[in-house]
Structure formats: structure tokens, C-alpha cells
Symmetry: C2
Subunit: 375 residues, 2 copies
């Protein structure tokens, strides 16, 4: 890679790390005021220059980093997961598009190595996670500015720290931001075995909220039911059960749900409406079945059910400068982790240089999560 191309890589990644005016914006704003480098470093990063399958477009490259010693923070990345959204972003099938060339990965944890003289929000040795999406976490090192990372305590496991900022945060916000949930209330969700789904079960359990967890039928269904129950699920049922008399029995014991979380769409989502409380809310955060959710007119008109979407990436953009809100959320979640109420996800740790093996099955949300370990 020639120097000219390397400079271009860096400049574009610099912009990638700044919020774009619109999430679907396809063109870069070329800031001409890129700071003059005063210290040259480099990293190894997984770079892509066009959309496509990871095996075609993603390559490990040496990339220069410029640390100015004033506003910059120099970070050693420790661990970064491969999330389904990262893969969708590689494919160009996601709500935000990076400017090319781009470093992949949106989530992870790093350790601060050194900070510029004007930085007082973090110090060397701190653990930090990206504040916004599009950070480019699949790298050994990074240079960024103070608002681009948030420090977290380093007394939780590396895996918990590397995976707290997307899925548990998604679960947390969906439970906090749409309806007021009190102990004894009920939440229903499909795709309950997804990483978000498992976080929903654990957060609800710690708050005394009942969960009805819908999963697809499968050969080992009883083992999965046991696993989700052990996380604190009140009920675990298959999609077929939604149409059966057993539902009436459930509602003799717990209230009807005032919140439905939908990451599947199609019939799996449509079948939830029958069971919701009048005036309840459905929040859609995924569409695993790739089918639209069929919404009956009567459910919204006569039963006043409301439908919203939730996208953590957008929430981060909207709340980028609300440090107290971000810190509050992370503090709550990390406290749950510390108390053992929010377990680290089942995952396979893969050395960074063996990254190719990390991308298999990454689009299967029920599969084991793969985490790149940089050290």
C-alpha cells in the first residue's frame, strides 16, 4: 500500500468515526482541516474497500495512525466481537454505510495507552468502549478523540466489557424507553435466544418483570428452554404455542404483556398481537425472517397497540453528547454484570490474526458469538 493510499485510508476512517448528518448518507464530507500528524504510529486492522462477502472484501493491513499529543487518545484494542450487524454492514445491507476504505467492527473494548495534554476524561490504563457506531474496532490499535470513547470499569470480564455496548444496551433501552415497566408486568419477545433476547430475560428477571419468550421449535428445544429458564425466563414457548390454548393458561398466572419485542417479523410477530394488553407497544429491532410484520387493523384501532422500531446505532447518534445518559446506562448494566445478573454471552475467543475463522456463522443469531482477541 503506497503512502498516498494509506493517507487516504486514514482520512476516510477519521470521517467514519464522526457522526454523519444522516444514517443513510452515502457520501463523505471531506473535512480539509484534518490535523497535521505530529507522531506516527501504526496498527494492523481489518480493512474493506467495497461491500461484499468478508472472504472477498476484508483484508488484514498495516495502517498508519497519527497521534497529535493534544486532543487525541491512543488505544490498544483488547477484544472486539463479530456481530451480525457488522456483517450486514460489510454486505452494504445496513442502515449506515462507511466511507471506503473502512476498518470493520463497531463494538469492542480497548485500553488507553496515552492521552494528549488536553484530554482529562480518560487516563492511561483505563478501559474504553466506542461511544458511537462505526468506530472500526477490528484493529490492534486506534487513535481517536475524547468524545468517541467512554470509559468503563475494568473489574468485569474482558468478554463482558467487549460485548456490553450493543446487545445489552439494546435490551436495556427497549425496556426503559417505550413503556413504564413495574415489577409484576409482563414482556413478550420472539427470537428470545438471540443475544439481545438473553439480555432482555436477565434484565427483566433482575427487575421482577415476567418474560414470555418465544423460540422456534428445534430438535434440542428442551435444552434451550432449560437454558433460557436458567437465565430467569418466566415462560419459554415455541412459535406454534402462540396459537394454542396454553396461552390462556399463562394469562391466568401473569398479566398480559404491555411490551412486545420483535426481532423476527412475519407470522412470528403477527401472532403476538392476539396476546398483548390493550394499549401496549410493540418494538421491532430486527427482521430475522426477512418478512414484514402483518399488523391487523383492529389491533391498532380498537386495542390501541402502538408500533415503534429501535436501532441502537441511531440512539447513540441521538445521544452522543448526553454523557450522563450513556454513563448511567453503562453503570446500570455493569452493576448487573458484577452482581452476576447479566452473564457474559457464550462466545468463542479467536486470536485476531485468525480472524477468518471468526466470520463463519456470524449471521446466525442463535449461534455462538465470535470475539476477536487482540493481545
Amino acid at each position: 500500500m503506497g503512502t498516498r493510499l494509506l493517507h487516504r485510508t486514514i482520512r476516510k476512517n477519521y470521517f467514519l468515526r464522526h457522526p454523519l448528518p444522516k444514517p443513510t448518507q452515502k457520501q463523505c464530507m471531506l473535512h480539509r482541516t484534518f490535523p497535521k500528524p505530529i507522531s506516527n504510529l501504526s496498527c494492523e486492522a481489518l480493512v474493506y474497500r467495497r461491500h461484499g462477502a468478508f472472504s472477498d472484501v476484508l483484508h488484514l493491513e498495516e495502517v498508519p495512525l497519527f497521534y497529535n499529543g493534544r486532543e487525541d487518545i491512543y488505544i490498544r484494542m483488547l477484544a472486539a466481537p463479530v456481530n451480525p450487524a457488522d456483517i450486514n454492514m460489510l454486505h452494504g445491507n445496513y442502515g449506515i454505510t462507511p466511507c471506503f476504505p473502512a476498518i470493520g467492527g463497531n463494538e469492542g473494548v480497548g485500553e488507553v495507552i496515552k492521552v494528549g495534554c488536553n484530554v482529562n476524561s480518560v487516563k492511561p490504563g483505563d478501559w474504553v468502549i466506542p461511544t458511537d457506531s462505526g468506530f472500526g474496532t477490528w484493529t490492534t490499535h486506534a487513535v481517536c478523540q475524547a468524545h468517541q470513547v467512554t470509559s468503563i470499569p475494568n473489574n468485569i470480564s474482558l468478554i463482558s466489557a467487549a460485548t456490553v455496548s450493543v446487545n445489552p444496551c439494546t435490551a436495556y433501552r427497549m425496556l426503559m424507553d417505550f413503556v413504564t415497566l413495574n415489577p409484576g408486568d409482563t414482556v413478550i419477545q420472539n427470537g428470545a435466544n438471540s443475544t439481545v433476547g438473553q439480555a432482555v430475560i436477565q434484565i427483566c428477571s433482575s427487575m421482577g418483570i415476567n418474560t414470555i419468550n418465544v423460540i422456534r421449535d428445534r430438535p434440542n428445544v428442551n435444552a434451550l428452554i432449560e437454558k433460557l429458564r436458567s437465565l430467569g425466563a418466566t415462560y419459554v414457548i415455541t412459535e406454534e404455542t402462540l396459537q394454542k390454548q396454553e396461552m390462556a393458561d399463562i394469562f391466568k398466572v401473569v398479566e398480559r404483556p404491555k411490551l412486545a419485542l420483535n426481532c423476527v417479523g412475519g407470522r412470528s410477530a403477527g401472532d403476538l398481537f392476539t396476546h398483548l394488553m390493550d394499549g401496549s407497544t410493540m418494538v421491532t429491532y430486527g427482521g430475522m425472517s426477512r418478512k414484514p410484520t402483518p399488523v391487523p387493523a383492529k389491533a391498532v384501532i380498537f386495542r390501541n397497540i402502538k408500533l415503534y422500531g429501535f436501532w441502537m446505532t441511531q440512539w447513540k447518534k441521538d445521544n452522543l453528547h448526553d454523557v450522563a445518559k450513556i454513563k448511567g446506562m453503562l453503570s446500570d448494566l455493569i452493576e448487573m454484570v458484577r452482581k452476576g445478573h447479566l452473564l457474559e454471552p457464550a462466545c468463542t475467543q479467536i486470536p485476531f490474526k485468525e480472524y477468518e475463522t471468526a466470520f463463519h456463522d456470524s449471521l446466525n443469531p442463535c449461534g455462538s458469538k465470535n470475539i476477536l482477541i487482540m493481545e
Copy 2:
């Protein structure tokens, strides 16, 4: 009809005119404190004792009325439309169910004949319309209490007065309560030739709001397009056009819609999502296609489109005692009527005793509205 049965009719209709605790409540609360009658009157009313087709269940009967001379208002009904919702209610296919025997009809206008000594909200000669649904307007006369009717000016046409409280109010609330619309903004709606749709066109036109009006293709489509344009429609298109390049041309001229109004469901509603502004709102108030609205995950997640239902009956229940809000809405609408910005709906006036002819085609929202004239 024996006296015992007549008394039962009245008692039940008395409760019908009081708000039920829940719109779907199937059982009556039997208030034993029904006031002792001190003046006996009677009316002729269209009574039904069970759900079914109008020809099977609806009969013109003489029904006694009890006027106590204190809190009661004695009304002569002047005109009452036959709305699709009334027919759905006859069929038992609506969000509220009357207690039987019941008098049909939810909308209409009456003239106050006399008022009890404790009534000061209306006076003899005033025109009044029902405040809530379930009044039972298909009758020559009625006795009710002050909060059950709202007075309106009698310097608009009888037809406008008899039809202002359901469809124009539905259009008005959907335009006011979900997004803030400013001149130059755009609203898109399907079923644009429905009575609500025509009110939406006229209210938007008077506010400087663009409307994109979707109708089904039909043999006389150009005549209908002309008719809706003459009401103030900015664009009138067929459902097929939603998938064509012409839409891009429209959005070179007007903004993308921040509000979609849906009374059809099915593909007609699903095809609207492509054209909505990010962050916009779809309000569903009908399901004429009897098919659910297919909601794409990407529309709600990445484009933050929100979905609500609207039901005028529920709004009335929720705002029954907010006299200022109800009066304000009616005052705005009647001012539009007076200025010629909101025309009376095309309708066929049918003498009350010939009621049977009024029920044909009443479920066809694109057909002419039938209005019973009591005098």
C-alpha cells in the same frame, strides 16, 4: 310490545348512552337507580335485539321516553346518517357492543324541545349532536342528560350538522394529534375517496398542506380524480402508481409525507412505506381490504417510522369531559363548513320511515352516504 319489555328497552338504552368502562365490555352494568319517570313521552326508533343483518334484526318500534324535568333534555332528532361503523355495530363486528335491546345509530343532529330546570348548557331551539358514541340516533326523539350532547350553531346545513361529528372529526384529529403539520408539509392517504379521506383533503387544503391521495383504479377513475382535485387534492394517484417512477417526479415538487393515513391495509398500506419521510408516522383508522398492513422491519428500525391507530369512538370516551377540546374542534370544523372549505358529503336523504332503503350499500365507503331525515 308489552309494558315490561318497553321498560326494559328504555332502561337498557339509558345505559347504552352512558360510557361503558371498556369499549369491548360485553355486559351491562345494571344501575338500579334509574330515575323515576315524571313525564311520559314516546318516540319511534330503529331497535335491534341481537347482532345480524339489518333486514333481520332492525325494526321500527314505538319506544317510551321518560323526562324528569330536572337534569333531562328532550330532543327532536332532525337527521342521522347511516355510517359503515353503525352497520359493523349491528353485525357485532365493531370495537363496542351495545346492550340489548338497543337503538341503532351513533351520529346525527337534533333540536332541543325542552330542558329540565337544572340544565343550563343548552336551551330549546338549540341544535345538538351526541358527545359520545352509542347514543342511538335512529329515533324521532330522545331524552338524555346535558353531558351527552354538545350544542352546535344552526346556521350550517342540516346535512353538514348531521355528519360533522364522526368523519370530519376523525380527519381533524388525525391531522392534529400525531405530527405537527405546517404549510408545505405533505400527507399521503389511501382510500382517499372515503368520507374521512375527502375531509382530510379539504382540511389539508385549507391549511396549505399538500395531499397525495391514493385510490383504487376503476372505470371512471378520471372523473374521481377530477372530483378529489376539485376538493383541493394536490395529487390523486392509483394504487399501482405507488410502485412507479411517477412517485419520484412528485417528490421533486413536494416534500415526502411526514404523515400517512391508512384505512385500507394490505398491500395498499405496505406500499406507502417506501415514500414516507424518515421519522414519519402512519395512522391506521380502517381496514377496508380486511388484510393486515405488512410493516417492513427496515422502515421502523432504520427509518424510525411509527405506527398508531385512531378510533374516534375511543377519543370521544377519553375526552368526554374535556368540553373545551370538543367545542374547539367543532368550532374549527364548523368555521370551515361556513367558509365553504368543508363541503357537506354527497348523500341521499331518505325519510325515516323508509329506513330500509337507507341501509343498502352502506358498507361501501365509496358509495353515496345515506341520511335518515326525521321530520
